[in-house]
Amino acid sequence: MRIPIDTFRLPNGLFVTLSEDHTAPIVAVNLWYHVGSANERPGRTGFAHLFEHMLFQGSADVGSNEHFELIQRAGGTLNGSTWLERTNYFETVPSNQLELVLWLEANRMGKLLPAMTQQKLDTQRDVVKNERRWSMDNQPYGTWWERLPMLCFPPEHPFHHSLIGSMEDLDAASLEDVRLFFQTFYTPENAVLTVTGDFDPEQARRWVERYFAPIANGNGRPALPDAAMPRIFGAWKREVVPDNVMLPRLFLSFLSPVFGSEPFYPASVCAAILGMKKGSRLYKSLVRERQVAAEAQAFTYDLTRGSDLLVIDVTGRPGISGEQLEQEVAREVDVLFASGVTEDEVARAVTLIQTEYTRALQSAGERADRLSMFATYFSDPALINSQVRRYRSVTADAVNAFISDRLGESNRASLLYVPRTGTMRAHRSGEFSGARL
């Protein structure tokens, strides 16, 4: 299996990847802007994400919310998302609608500001505040993805602060911030455009040139914030969060090699051995055999600069205290640290990762998103074709070297949610003896 790739760059700096596949009359368009919450200035946490909402509020030739309507009327799906290091926008449409999508994306890349109004900003601020309440504040454990980077990265580090933002900072965001952010980060040379699926490459290229080439170059590619991190934490960091939850849940993190680097692959395989599916170590031991956990998984954050995080996420079962849960998980990590993994475990993990990868690449939108990712982070979309090979070349020795280097006690950070006093008692939970997420 090989994904075909053709790339070019417009004079204004926009990097373009085309990847044909004519098995269905579908085309996916995907844009990554190399800006995320890591680029926010102090006092404006959450702005990158609020800004993503503003990109759906129209541009010079597109009305408010019309972007959504035009794509859906064309028979397509669309969305956007914001992450620490990037913001993406994507559409999948019937292949005869490609030109419309390119026009829409170019219109907002080139001419967003004339459409921005105070009223639109105020409404989206309210929507985002409700998104915060919905996804974090009103969800059990919902604040974990705000608290975990705060615990793992020091206060001045660009990954430290909240991606969704504080209510105060959201309140402070102004139209002037919108203008500055747009002019600094939403420039052709700070973006990559990917088109996958059923299209005529010459025609697609002509359309890309027609709509994107007139967009003015920015003031050079903005510098990425300094993200340097030590190799290990230096000591076991701990935070305990009493919350309105029934069961304790532990996020145990380790600083780990950055995404895409040579040592990343053994780290990723280690995460799969620990916590990918029911044959993983944590599931077999903590959920099935010892029955102290309700659910167990492990994953990497996939950060490309400074340091990545490998995260173990385990929810306790009723009757297990937060302290016990942390001890049980730590014991599993200690066993791994002392004895390492076998070739057999590596083989299981790599085979599963390979199936998952093939499965994901069936979708034009997924292919486009990954091509954009490799283009943004490494200026090389063709990396999509070498991932399986890189995983297959991981050995038990390489995983064990990672383990010795990174899974020791001096490189652990525990974020532990525990039921607020009274929550458990009120629901007679002690009599239950099992749980699952």
């Binding site: 419309l100 069961l247 077999k284 299981r348 085979t351």
Partner: protein, 462 residues
């Protein structure tokens, strides 16, 4: 391909579409083994991968009174050990093949599903047949999975979204209906289930005549039939008849249900009534009506509550399709202080779509969206196999996916108005809010929606 001009292009140089390229849902073949088992195969040769689904006539509506949840428990227990392999060995054997199996029971059937690379397909199906034909149901795993379900129910009390969904369905149906109870069973019914209940349910429902093996992906129908014959051919047993339950509503008058959750920072709102069965002539018009009302981002409910008022991150409506009449629900999560005005706006939109015809623009947006996304929905072998399972589960005609877009295009504004008036019934709608009662009870009462009942998060009236 040559670009054609069109009037739409006039507006600010907006491109108009090229002529659409043809699309066909993958061809599939049905075969039947001598033991009554059905095999449905859709060859899709895009990538060397295939999805296999065993659809079993063992939904949650089947079962015994007081033992609700046995269908789900039985499905999950299939993977916890067979007469040849214990649970750990079974998982490891699947995962070494680069695959993992999911087993779950919905209202009308049990689905056991895996996706594997072509080279592993044959051993994966062999292992799947072992799971379906000789599960061991070890006592220890029965107890463990029961405890997991009980913990799920416990956790649900702090999870407002899931709690609202589950309690809303509960209050909608008359108490004798299976639908009035959670799909996975209640605390009481799950506690009561024994290993004998599970084996009894298995022997009753898991029969070759009630199983359809669906394979979509890199495989030919002959290859699939041969694999099915090798792995399931010598399985025998009587066919199991479909199960029934009542789909009658609990009330024919409006009522307001408030679930008090003092720490809530938002209110989860649900408004709706009992809908209608999936295999019904009104299906297409109802899907279009729902798209306009609350199915799309650009729907009336979402544009009103999110984009006009900023009350919420999102507001939606949907029909929960089942063999019998599932719920129709408008759902959203809003700031506590605007709970009552948000509910008023949602009701206003329900009333409005029953009063006047939708505009031509709304109709064309919905139908062109539904027709256009159709091929996008079926890009993966997972999705194609799932679509075939739906076809079998609801006994839809074989040309359902081939004629879907035609049927959608044929829906008129009159049809939409008629189904809105027939299937949305404001006079018997129920409203449920999970939220901070001290902040939202009084404002909700001023809506005059109907008599109010207040519950705690365990569902007890307080």
């Amino acid at each position: 391909m040559k670009k054609k001009g069109s009037p739409r292009a006039a507006k600010s140089g907006r491109p108009s579409p090229l002529p659409p390229r043809p699309y066909q849902f993958p061809r599939f073949e049905r075969r039947r083994l001598k033991n009554g088992m059905q095999v449905v195969v859709a060859p899709v040769r895009k990538l060397p991968i295939a999805t296999v689904i065993a659809l079993v006539e063992a939904g949650a509506v089947c079962g015994y009174k007081g033992r609700e949840g046995v269908a789900r428990l039985t499905a999950e227990l299939l993977l916890e050990g067979t007469t040849n392999n214990d649970g750990v060995e079974l998982v490891e054997r699947f995962e070494r093949l680069g695959t993992s199996v999911d087993a779950s029971a919905d209202w009308d059937g049990t689905v056991v599903r895996l996706t594997a690379l072509h080279e592993q397909l044959s051993p994966a199906i062999k292992l799947l047949s072992e799971v379906l034909r000789s599960p061991a149901f070890p006592q220890r795993e029965v107890e463990r999975l029961k405890a997991e379900r009980l913990a799920d129910l416990l956790k649900l009390r702090t999870e407002p979204r899931g709690l609202a969904d589950e309690m809303f369905t509960g209050i909608l149906y008359e108490p004798t209906s299976r639908y009035a109870m959670p799909e996975g069973g209640s605390e009481e019914s799950v506690r009561a289930i024994t290993r004998e209940d599970v084996t009894g349910f298995y022997n009753w429902r898991y029969q070759p005549g009630g199983v359809t093996l669906i394979i979509a992906g890199d495989i030919t129908p002959d290859e699939a039939e041969r694999l099915a014959l090798e792995t399931f051919g010598d399985w025998s047993g009587p066919a199991a008849a479909q199960c029934r339950t009542s789909d009658e509503p609990a009330r024919h008058t409006r009522a307001l249900h408030l679930v008090s959750k003092p720490d809530a920072k938002q209110s989860e709102l649900r408004i709706g009534n009992v809908g209608f069965p999936r295999n019904h002539p009104d299906y297409y018009a109802a899907v279009v009506m729902n798209a306009v009302l609350g199915g799309l981002f650009s729907s009336r409910v979402n544009l009103n509550l999110r984009e006009r008022h900023g009350y919420t991150y999102g507001a939606f409506s949907h029909f929960d399709w089942r063999r019998l009449a599932g719920p129709f629900v408008v759902s959203t999560a809003v700031q506590s202080e605007v709970t009552a005005p948000a509910a008023r706006q949602a009701i206003h939109e329900i009333d409005r779509i029953r009063e006047d015809q939708i505009t031509g623009d709304e109709l064309s947006l919905a139908t062109s969206y539904l027709g256009g996304v159709f091929p996008i929905r079926y890009e993966t072998t997972d999705a194609i196999a799932g679509a075939l399972a739906t076809l079998v589960e609801y006994a839809l005609p074989d040309d359902f996916y081939d004629t879907y877009r035609e049927h959608m295009r044929a829906v008129t504004s009159d049809d939409v108005l008629r189904v809105a008036q027939t299937h949305l019934r404001p006079s018997e709608m129920q409203m449920l809010a999970v939220g901070d009662a001290s902040a939202i009870q009084k404002p909700l009462e001023t809506l005059g929606f109907g008599p109010i009942t207040v519950y705690d998060t365990e569902g007890n009236v307080v």
